[in-house]
Symmetry: C2
């Protein structure tokens, strides 16, 4: 295992060099978070389809349990049960625009991970990267459990557990536990835990969780041990994934309607109904629920005892329990909608649950239609300061409501959200009508098969994956 | 599936160009032998160990169900449920000697398959190839079901089902059903079905099956459909392999003694006992049998209701039923020892069952110790012309016995056999005592894990495997 030990040391040193200004030492986190033998137990798998560009290159890395789709290269990195999806990468010749300046892609875009350590991290593209649009880069980065990385120049970054860096450029920054940032260049910034921050040139939204709340849900000790309600909740479903990950070709479910896709690496348990053009991604867990037409459950979603009326989007890591979501409801990254049989949650149609929202119901909670909700909600009365009508927000310029502040162009903010949600539905194929134009992930992934990669089991290379090039 | 169809056409044309002088057209055999959808159903797997050189390159090929170990490259070929083992390839700098002339390997030796179609073919190295010792080549070759290819320059060759070309150089030749040849350059030769031919500079053994016998056991029609007792026998065990090939990490059996190895891709069924340093290779099937110390069952062996006293070798494709084999007994390639409860077979210690022997017992059959047996035996009386004492054979120069003739140096012939059997035992690790020097396949393959490769499932590439380079 010498090589794997050297790799941990190498990554720690590279990340620490970059994070020195922030006064953080990732070495103990990185070296202790996952017991070594687990890096050998799980296999990596890459999806093979004719609809996605195929090109993988893996060198000097451990890829335990990691899923790959599309063009990816990994060097000197440890990817543990992560999910790298390159199915929205741009192509050679595509024109991209940043702040009104246009440029054309010289090569096909590729996800390139170097000197990084990702634990159960979801990496999805559709990048907004003005630096090198050909490269979706993750460099010298440590991302802890259930973090999300979207649209990066992600260099020298530490992400705490359940943190999200969205559409982001960052350099040498620390993003605290369960923080969500969509704020561009964050060089030499430390984001405190439980902050939700959306910033653009024309608007800014800011919310910080009340003191003492985040720790109840997410707590990482200095040796990388994760506790709290989130991990307790998802750990209960771990065993459901074992049979799926032990089989070369997991069985396809019967009764999946036309245009819909349930990944063979998703769990569908109990009484479920899946609507037309719905998409249940790999690593999603759906139990005793109704997923309506064009709705989706993205990676690391856990949906239980819930009803989706249709065209719903559950972003990566959303957990939705005893909840009725009306049509078009959006649940943002890593949100936790924890209803119970006694205290169910209802979200009215067209509403937006902001990323990193916790609704942990201590009484029945009803979110009105066409609203935005955020922050920490346990009682109806919390909605007074954590929920607004989208129509009202559209007219706003400056609002302070509880721990949240909004400044800037309210209409632009709401439109940006709506536009993005619509984009997600289109990309997922929610409106598929048989035409090529309406095909999305749900349809393109239908004929995927999975190639399964394992590491050396003994000797100095124990735990390392062989150098491998696929597709070119 | 356009690409796969083109590939069939391409291979057929290349092989036919070479086999024109022999008047054979392989196209219908090659195009019809395997239903197209089967080429998509099965996955290829390569073994990853730190004891074997790692380097695979696959381009423009279908690899359905094929197993790879060691350095291999495959281009423009269809390998169907075949087995390519590069674990005895030579290394850069090794000195090889041919007819007294020595030469040094410039590169590591690699198995290279080009423009070929192999069905359930066993390819194993330890080559005797004076042409390019760096390349174990299989070029423009069609090999049908359960054929064996060893030590080649195998160019422009057709092998019928259950045929074996051993330690061989060949060019543009046809080897009939169930023929065994170990005879060097066979350019423009057609070997009739059921011939067993061993030829060197100093001895020659020849046996041809009586008319009408081979067809009962092996019959291939012009469209590649295989019938006969051999395929009927092995088809009965097909289902036993299904669970093994559906699991990412088949379970290791308990109670395997130190130094022994049972491949996770072998079947052990009923009451079996496996001795110390024994080796049960992938695709071997062992049922209700005792496999003694240092004994082995190589690929495609089927051993049932039998006892091996120890240090036995069952070469590739040997089928052994209701047989008691004494110590050191060797069963050659594709031999069929079909005893029954009523009519068991006994083979005395140190005896050699020649390759491609059929003992289909119609009464109890007993092979004395220290004997060679060959050909077609159903009754005791058949042994009179098909079995000799190895001591007698050692003293012989010219012998004609039934359909068999032997000419040349009997002692050299017996010594060559014994030397080779001993080599097999050593290579397999039958004498492992904990020292590095005595380690063999049984010990080196202990920590193997398997990487699993699947083809495209749709589009023009349907059935083709992606281009892939592993290990360099």
């Amino acid at each position: 295992m010498e090589k794997l030990e050297e790799l941990f040391e190498h990554i720690a040193s590279r990340v620490n060099v970059n994070l020195k200004p922030m006064g953080i030492d990732v070495r103990p986190l990185l070296e202790n978070a996952i017991p070594r033998e687990r890096h050998m137990l799980y296999y990596a798998f890459y999806a093979l389809t004719t609809d996605h560009p195929l090109s993988f290159k893996f060198t000097n890395s451990n890829l335990a349990g990691t899923y790959f789709l599309g063009k990816t290269s990994v060097d000197r990195s440890v990817l543990y049960k992560s999910d790298l999806r390159g199915d929205e990468l741009k192509s050679k010749g595509d024109i991209v625009e940043f702040n009104g300046v246009k440029t054309k892609l010289f090569y096909d875009e590729v996800i390139r991970v170097i000197n990084s350590f990702l634990v159960k991290t979801l990496v999805h593209n559709h990048s907004k990267n003005p630096e090198i649009p050909e490269v979706f880069r993750i460099l010298n980065t440590v991302a802890m459990h259930f973090s999300n990385i979207h649209g990066t120049t992600c260099e020298g970054v530490y992400l705490g557990p359940f943190a999200t860096v969205d559409l982001s450029v960052m350099h040498n920054c620390v993003v605290g536990d369960f923080s969500y940032v969509q704020a561009g260049d964050l060089s030499r910034v430390t984001i405190e835990p439980g902050r939700v921050w959306v910033k653009s040139d024309i608007f800014e939204f800011n919310y910080t969780y009340p003191e003492g709340v985040v720790e109840k849900y997410v707590k990482l000790d200095e040796n990388g041990k994760l506790t709290g309600k989130f991990i307790e909740y998802v750990d209960d479903f771990k065993d459901d994934f074992i049979p799926i990950y032990s089989t070369v070709q997991p069985e396809q479910l019967d009764g999946i309607p036309e245009g819909a896709y349930v990944s063979p690496y998703a769990v569908i348990k109990g009484e479920c109904k899946i609507g037309k053009n719905a998409l249940i991604a790999q690593r999603a867990h759906v139990e005793d629920s109704f997923i309506g037409e064009g709705a989706n459950a993205q990676e690391n979603c856990y949906i239980k005892n819930s009803t989706y009326d249709g065209f719903n989007v559950t972003a990566h890591g959303g957990k939705v329990i005893h909840t009725h979501a009306g049509k078009n409801v959006f649940v943002g990254f890593n949100s936790f909608l924890h209803g119970t049989e006694e205290y169910p949650i209802t979200v009215g149609k067209d509403s937006i649950v902001m990323p990193h929202t916790i609704i942990d119901a201590e009484e029945p909670i009803e979110i009105p239609e066409n609203s935005a909700v955020w922050g920490y909600v346990t009682k109806k009365s919390d909605l007074e300061t954590q929920c607004v009508s989208l129509d009202d927000l559209s007219k706003a310029t400056d609002v302070t409501l509880g721990n949240a502040t909004f400044t800037g162009d309210g209409k632009a903010f709401v439109d940006a959200f709506r536009h993005r949600i619509e984009h997600i539905r289109e990309e997922n194929g929610a409106y598929f009508d048989g035409s090529e134009k309406t095909r999305g992930h749900a349809q393109k992934t239908q004929d995927a098969c999975f190639n399964i990669l394992q590491p050396f089991q003994s000797g100095p290379e124990k735990g390392m994956y062989p150098t491998m090039t696929i597709g070119e």
